[in-house]
Symmetry: C2
Subunit: 394 residues, 2 copies
């Protein structure tokens, strides 16, 4: 049986996925782009504001006409927001104006309504104003052609507000990688079914699908196969039709009834042992141009395999930042088998990072309580409290 | 015109919303519960593992029968994962067993296949094993009745894996608050339309809807009204049919054509001035038991109003943690009008927090570049570089 280091297998995965998960762009309507990643710089198609407008409800006047306040001016017109209004202010007059309405040429300031007395026809301005006061100039927020936002940004409500304000209908965003998930195992039954002796509930399809979603991917297909090669082969054909990449769990080890290995080895798949724990048995195949990553079936092995091999590639494709690598101090001693890189489940505490459970790859509740993987190198067999370890954010 | 402090208006909003947005529970299928907040402690319905099973592909034996290895034992049966297998191991025999398959009574350890030689009928075990080795005991991960996860937890893929593993079909989660959004203003047109003089693109409906989504809410209704009271009244009726709370933008100030104020004041709404900038004019009404929060229409005023008055309430209802308040050092001086609490747009930099723009409530691109609101108290009029300010995470 062939063996590989974690680095070598990750490299092989990356080579295959680089092509299948090459970053691509799609256009989505602005209102549904929340959380998506901008695929290109977006430029402003128009100035913002597009026209000089009033910052207040009040009266647009020429500042010069306010010398010697109080001053009484005839009201030449009323401009509501949304009105074009008169093109030009006649000298010695005022126009009643609402917030956001266009300030006519000839007017150069706005007197807020609370600084005036008025009836329908005339306004008495009580305080002077300087040119430009309470007037928003064209382009004072954005100039047409400005880069509004750079490629690579994850979109927030504020970004969408800006794009809507310049009238954009759609945005170029990174396409989400489409991922198919197939859990295998004769022992698996879906939730809601009574368990016969020897059967367990399938959790890997839920775990992998949710992990795909949480890392910017789109779940294109989810199903559960028995150990029947015919059933698995048929499911795989449907999965590769719709997905950029397929993730399988189970059926990869050296025992009998290993459906994934049996079906994929003749198709040129690599199946072997990666020197890690959990997650030792792994497979990697290309089926009709679609990479198939085959993880072992123990729930913890499946999720750790996803974290180590699939997550970085999915996030890269989706344009999401890699989760930062980090270091922490161990709160207690630990042992690790030689020759295997170990990913232990840990939890951050004020003093550093503590083991959440033993190494058993069936401890799914312990994994749920963990918030980091503690990464112990292959050649390390014992560590002490206070030692520095690399941790992967879960 | 009545006036209120930010605290007083926030208190009035909270009183009205406490009832409309009382936390409630709904049940959703496990696979779609990602990101939802658990509404009650969830207990394990079964042990995990539910039966004693093998950690390896190999042979289940009694450790006692391995004294004096190498030892040759007859293979009494083969147990694949998913098989019930024989109830009991006959003394002096072995059963071939796959990972996850039930270990029969009488067997107390598993010898991994790599430590054996075998043909169809007999196995030669080369190394001794202690009792319990490579056997996963019933309940070693979870006991039936254990609290698997406490109320209030935001659900991750690992949590869903655990719930699937114990066979749960649905989870009790906090119901998402249903929010309606109505942007008002005669000047508003949708993206994709040519602008006539005086018109602008509606950004508030997009901004508010995305903000609702980003804070655990569900957008029940989004529309855009002119200044026509009939149109707005009709829209409001439809909005209150489906939503727990309605957010409006525009039409609240002291000018003419203030459709929101005109329609809601006769229904008992409070409309007045909150001593803040931006976001001074505000309204609060209860229409048929549904609270209506009315924000001013300038894009920055709308979003700041949402942050200050709506966001804390929506997150509380959805069960999401409030965004932590924080303090930072100003990188430069600033001025603030007396008697108004000012929310300036800022950006975190290594030295502290820097102003992103002036106070203009039309500067929507500047808001998009900001990542915090800088909260300047009512009675502060000047601050210096190095002064400590309160910041709100955007």
């Amino acid at each position: 049986m062939t063996s590989r280091s974690v680095e070598d297998h990750a490299h092989a995965v990356r080579l295959l996925l680089d092509r299948a998960l090459a970053p691509a762009t799609e256009h989505v309507p602005v209102p549904v782009a929340l959380g998506r990643v901008l695929a290109a710089d977006v430029h402003a198609p128009i100035d913002l504001p597009l026209f000089r407008n009033s910052q207040m409800d009040g009266f647009a006047v020429a500042a010069d006409s306010l010398r010697g306040v109080p001053v009484t001016l005839p009201i030449a017109a009323t401009i509501a927001a949304g009105d074009a209004g008169p093109e030009r202010l006649d000298p010695g007059t005022a126009v009643r104006i609402m917030t956001g309405a266009p300030v006519p040429a000839g007017a150069d300031c706005v007197v807020p309504v609370e600084d005036t007395d008025s009836d329908d026809d005339v306004v008495c301005v009580l305080v002077p104003r300087r040119r430009g006061e309470f007037v928003r100039d064209r382009g004072s927020d954005v100039h047409a052609g400005d880069v509004l936002l750079a490629a690579g940004t994850e979109l927030t409500p504020r970004h969408l507000a800006m794009f809507a304000a310049v009238g954009l209908t759609a945005l170029p965003v990174r396409r989400r990688p489409r991922v198919a998930v197939i859990a295998t195992g004769a022992e698996l039954v879906p939730a809601g079914t009574a368990l016969a002796p020897g059967q367990i509930y399938d959790s890997n399809s839920t775990a992998l699908a949710a992990s795909v979603t949480a890392n910017g991917g789109e779940v294109a297909f989810v199903d559960r196969s028995t150990d029947s090669p015919e059933l698995f082969r048929d499911m795989l054909a449907r999965a590769t039709e719709s997905a950029d990449v397929v993730l399988t769990s189970g059926g990869v080890s050296m025992g009998e009834f290993e459906v994934v290995r049996e079906v994929l080895t003749p198709l040129g798949g690599w199946f072997g042992h990666v020197s890690m724990q959990p997650g030792g048995p792994q497979g990697l195949t290309e089926v009709g141009g679609v990479p198939v990553l085959s993880f072992p079936g123990n729930p913890v092995s499946t999720l750790v395999s996803f974290e180590v091999f699939a997550r970085p590639e999915l996030r890269r494709c989706a344009g999401l930042a890699p989760l930062p690598a980090d270091h922490a101090k161990l709160t207690g001693p630990l042992e690790s088998p030689p020759g295997r890189r170990q990913f232990l489940r840990g939890r951050r505490v004020p003093q550093g990072v503590t083991l959440e459970s033993g190494p058993g790859s069936h401890l799914v509740a312990a994994l749920a309580r963990a918030d980091v993987l503690i990464d112990i190198p292959e050649d390390v067999t014992t560590m002490q409290a206070g030692d520095d370890v690399r941790v992967w954010q879960l």
